[in-house]
């Protein structure tokens, strides 16, 4: 293999540049321009003063989980365990139970998410077949003083929830029959 030599020419510095003072002046003009600009207008400062000013999150930002509910206010989840199976952090715990209503097969008697363990990947939302779990609340997972308080149970998750426009069970008839 032939060795190729690339010759990089040395920068041609004139005496004017070498004398350093004019170049220092040039540097000073840049920094002082920035200094006065930011002193009087704060134009280039991009800092967001966090607790007072909050940044707008993008539409698909993944925040705290929430459980959606049916039109009658019952939890939408059918305890299919898709989310807890998909969860890479194993932070969703569901205990299924029989529902009195015959049109509803199962419902989660216990639904707990360990928010400390959650890695906010959104796999549970992807896995959910009936739009029961969402992460679109736009709320940060705030810090917890005690570990117990990081377990979000069904009522807590439902509190953030809302009605879903998706059709339960994926069949128009089934939905109408339920009502």
């Amino acid at each position: 293999m032939a060795v190729t030599v690339t010759k990089i020419p040395r920068p041609d510095r004139s005496l004017w540049v070498q004398s350093y003072v004019p170049e220092v002046m040039r540097g000073l003009s840049i920094t002082s321009k920035q200094f006065f600009k930011n002193l009087f207008t704060k134009k280039d400062v991009v800092t967001i003063q966090y607790p007072e000013v909050k940044r707008d999150y993008p539409e698909r930002y993944r925040g705290l989980h929430r459980l959606m509910y049916r039109d009658d206010g019952q939890v939408r989840c059918v305890a299919c365990m898709c989310c807890s199976t998909a969860c890479p952090a194993n932070c969703i715990h569901i205990e299924a139970a029989e529902h009195d209503d015959t049109s509803i097969e199962k419902y989660p008697a216990v639904f707990v998410i360990d928010e400390l363990r959650c890695i906010v990947c959104g796999m549970c939302v992807e896995a959910c077949p009936c739009d029961a779990i969402r992460m679109d609340s736009g709320i940060h997972t705030h810090p917890f003083y005690e570990r117990d308080t990081a377990f979000f149970d069904k009522p807590a998750l439902l509190e953030l929830g809302g009605p879903s426009v998706a059709h339960q069970g994926g069949d128009m008839k089934g939905v109408q029959g339920h009502h």
Partner: protein
């Protein structure tokens, strides 16, 4: 006699506690943190609040509460002395660093001597007739003022060198040695660069130097040091910045190489005092450069009785004496703060020099240039 002593004490309090120390300590915040943040498109410190004072609880006050919080924090920190350190010297050294930085202020004139009688302006000079001149505006009116400044600034390196040695730590020792080396390299060109100015003014008395800078060349150009000695101005600024160990000459501190150099092993108020002495010395550089090169308390065209345009016996715009004094002290403060601002600006503009580059610049560039400047000035002064 007693009034003289009281007057001197009053002047010391005014200069040190009302001028040098406040500006120096405020610069730790405004200069180093706020100014750098402006240059780098940041906001800088603004989270601390003075909530104990009603009405100020919600205002950031350009970050000044941070600087108060810093002081408070320093007082309550543990004073750690490393094992094997020389305890006596370790305790004395912060004072040794601060002492010269403050004592140097003794000869800085904030204004000409106060005249109790009438002021007549002759040949761009205020001449006091039918009255005495009283030295109200500088702590000591020394005829060897500039030599005094050089002597004290030479002593100031002992603080850094002994701090490095007394800490019993390698980084500290390297920092102390570097600061000695840097002091020796730059003291020479510093003194030689002002020698030209001394030749021109023919005096070492700083106030007399400032008085002579009121002369107008050709009736319009003020004979400031920067006008007659432009090269010396740059050399002196560079050498003084090296002398105060500020970036880009911060070899003795060298954060990226030797932790914090000679004061690595100092904590709590001892650290604060060393740091403060550096800032006070930085303010002093501003004051000294303003005095020698930027006309000190002189306002262009302003003399004891008002504005004169050209060499005229009567003022074109008359001003009361107190207004003249206020304008001149204001001008001096402005010039000092301008040079201070420039030093901080340079710090955030230029990358640090390597150690060998610092030595090269000192011995191979500054020294020959200042010698050449001195020789040429001597010829010109001899011919004129």
């Amino acid at each position: 006699m007693l009034t003289d002593i009281l007057l001197i004490l009053l002047k010391i309090v005014a200069v040190v506690l009302l001028f040098a120390m406040p500006i120096g300590s405020l610069m730790t915040l405004l200069g180093d943190r706020k100014q750098s943040s402006m240059i780098q498109n940041r906001v800088g410190p603004n989270r601390a609040r003075l909530s104990i004072i009603p009405g100020l609880g919600r205002l950031p006050l350009v970050g000044i509460p941070h600087f108060l919080a810093d002081g408070l924090k320093m007082i309550f920190k543990e004073d750690a002395i490393p094992d094997g350190a020389d305890r006596t010297w370790h305790n004395i050294v912060p004072a040794m660093a601060l002492f010269p930085a403050i004592v140097m202020w003794a000869v800085i004139p904030f204004h000409d001597h106060y005249c109790t009688g009438e002021i007549v302006v002759q040949n761009y000079r205020d001449i006091c007739v039918e009255g005495q001149t009283r030295n109200f505006f500088s702590i000591a009116n020394l005829d060897a003022g500039l030599l005094y400044v050089f002597a004290i600034s030479g002593v100031s390196v002992y603080g850094a060198a002994i701090a490095g040695w007394a800490s019993n730590a390698k980084y500290s020792l390297i920092g102390g040695l570097r600061s000695s080396a840097q002091m020796i390299s730059y003291e020479v060109s510093m003194a030689l660069s002002v020698a030209g100015a001394i030749l021109i003014y023919g005096t070492l008395n700083l106030n007399e130097m400032v008085v002579q800078q009121g002369h107008l060349i050709g009736g319009w150009l003020p004979m400031w040091g920067i006008v007659v000695q432009p090269l010396a101005f740059f050399i002196f600024l560079g050498a003084m910045m090296a002398e105060t160990k500020r970036a880009p000459f911060d070899m003795p501190e060298g954060e990226s190489e030797i932790v914090a150099g000679y004061f690595t092993e100092f904590s709590s108020m001892k650290f604060a005092v060393i740091q403060l002495s550096e800032y006070v010395a930085t303010v002093f550089v501003g004051a000294l450069i303003a005095t020698i090169f930027l006309g000190g308390w002189q306002v262009p065209y302003l003399y004891g009785d008002g504005f004169h345009f050209g060499n005229t016996p009567t003022a074109a715009l008359e001003l009361p004496y107190w207004a003249v004094i206020a304008l001149r002290i204001g001008a001096f403060s402005f010039k000092t703060i301008f040079i201070l601002w420039l030093q901080f600006m340079l710090r955030w503009t230029l990358p640090r020099f390597r150690y060998d580059q610092v030595m090269n610049l000192g011995w191979k560039i500054f020294l020959p240039l200042s010698l050449a400047n001195l020789v040429i000035t001597a010829f010109v002064v001899a011919i004129l």
